[in-house]
């Protein structure tokens, strides 16, 4: 009996090991190791022609926060500005996509089942179509001779083309546009699960619409809001495609800095240090949202 049990156990272990081996090896080598190497490179000195010198150098981080090389340097806030700007753009993207999606999620949840499915399909469809193509569309619309300016000048609202392309506004608009499906779906599932009886009770007991919204609806949908916010914030903060295509010098984000360090400036350790900053922001957001979810669960 005992012998058979042990044999069963070892055979189970064998199956388990076989099932887990691919993911462990693959992610260990091609996910964890690269992250460790980024961390390592971020404290090495830059090589003359790209690459690294294998000697300890901690001013890569100093440079991001304003002191490029030792204490005698003058405070140079350009990189810090770009970092803060990236956080600001990502936060704005979260807020705007939330304001856009929340009413629509509400509207869709009140439709008849068939129409509801159709509009849910419409929300998810852009996810299947190419990201570059969707951003390119905004390039066509926003540029000085583009559709928006032609239309506005045609009806006589403006006489000079508006400068929208290559501004921070264009970057935030582009990010909102590509992030909308990611904000919508968690919001929708939260709104769809609303307990309608509670809303009716609140109204019956004399609360007005605004009170009902802030005291009953908002708290119930908060998990969906938080989920959507995290899912939108994380890819926005490190984004470099949107600012590359739609933002000019004033729309530069930390992702563009990273790309420059690796592909044109060839300062790999500085690029690695910048990536470590992006990574820590992401982990911080993830951990705090997990902590909040756990607290809410208890």
């Amino acid at each position: 009996m005992c012998w058979r049990l042990r044999k069963l156990m070892t055979r189970q272990n064998l199956v388990l090991t076989t099932l887990l081996a691919p993911v462990t090896l693959f992610l260990g080598v091609f996910f964890l190791l690269p992250l460790v190497i980024i961390g390592l490179f971020s404290i090495l000195s830059p090589g003359l022609y790209g690459g690294v010198e294998w000697s300890f150098y901690h001013w890569n981080y100093g440079r991001i926060f304003g002191w490029a090389d030792g204490i005698d340097e003058i405070f140079e806030p350009i990189y810090l500005q770009i970092l803060l700007r990236s956080l600001g753009f990502a936060a704005m993207t979260v807020v705007l996509s939330l304001l856009l999606c929340y009413p629509v999620a509400f509207w869709v949840s009140r439709l008849s089942p068939k129409t509801r499915l159709f509009f849910l399909f419409l929300v998810t469809l852009p996810f299947f179509s190419s990201l570059v193509v969707r951003l390119y569309a905004w390039l066509l619309i926003l540029k000085p001779s583009g559709l928006l300016n032609s239309a506005l000048m045609g009806i006589g609202v403006i006489s000079q083309p508006l400068e929208i392309l290559y501004t921070p506004a264009a970057v935030v608009l582009g990010m909102v546009y590509i992030m909308v499906p990611f904000m919508f779906l968690p919001l929708y599932s939260a709104v769809d699960n609303l307990d309608r009886a509670l809303i009716e009770a609140s109204m019956d007991l004399g609360a007005n619409r605004i009170q009902t919204f802030f005291k009953v609806i908002l708290p119930q949908t908060l998990p969906g809001i938080m989920g959507g916010a995290v899912i939108v914030f994380i890819p926005s903060v490190g984004n470099f495609i949107v600012p590359d295509l739609l933002g000019g010098a004033r729309g530069l984000m930390i992702g563009n800095l990273v790309e420059q360090q690796f592909l044109s400036a060839r300062n790999w350790p500085f690029g690695a240090a910048l990536s470590m900053i992006i990574m820590s922001v992401v982990l911080l957001v993830l951990l705090s949202s997990l902590g909040r979810a756990k607290k809410a669960g208890v």
Partner: protein, 280 residues
Amino acid sequence: MRNPIGWASLTLFSLGFFAFIYAPLFVIIGYSFNSNPVNMMVWDHFTLDWYRGLFGLAREQLSGSVMPASGYVESTGHMLAALRNSLMVASITTVISTVIGTATAIALSRFRFRLKGFYSGFLMLPMMMPDIVLGIGLLIFFVTIGMQLSMLTIIIGHCTFLSSYVFIIVQARMAGLDPALEEASADLGASEWLTLRKVLLPQLAPGILGGALLAFVISMDDLVITYFVAGTDNTTLPVYIFGMIRRGVKPEINAIATLIILASVVIAAAGLWLRARKTD
């Protein structure tokens, strides 16, 4: 909703929202048929020239054309090569990440072991990690170990995060299955492998198919990771289009973009149809 005016304004806002999502795509489609090569935002007349040029068909020299016909033919070759690369990368990536993701989902749903909590948390990380961090991490890694950037490095890059996507989808399907069937199979003397092959996998098939489809679509569209680990000789379609847009807006991009939009609509509709048929 009790207030009709409130409902009407909410409806108006929502329809505006969907217009915001779809108008840009229709702008591209519209202008891909515009014959004005100088300023494509000014409508001239209907043309299929940009599509003809795309497929390298002999193209009558239009007066006022900004580019000789040979220029289009050359870029057609590059574009088709990029499309071929994309399809190859996406196909191989789909197979590898589906195998890894499915095996992991089975292990985490059907076995109890000490590191289970760690694994299910860890598998979220490749999805949540910004792609630029993953991309440059892999770039430094490949350069450090002296591995030539190639199609292989692109495939590896895609598999690191797509395995997690497949894992999530298959695990969701797993959660809806009845373990009694597997227990019955084991009680009747089938080995673990036999149970896996004959009982579990057939039931999982829709989830696996869904995960594979998602992996294929995301791999086809991946730009950032590919951009960093592709090296100079291997371009995929998104990277090729990205480069084209960076070099300047040209009317052929509208035609390519329209074809991509159409392809994605077809894929999404097919996915939806498959799902609808499954529930019947």
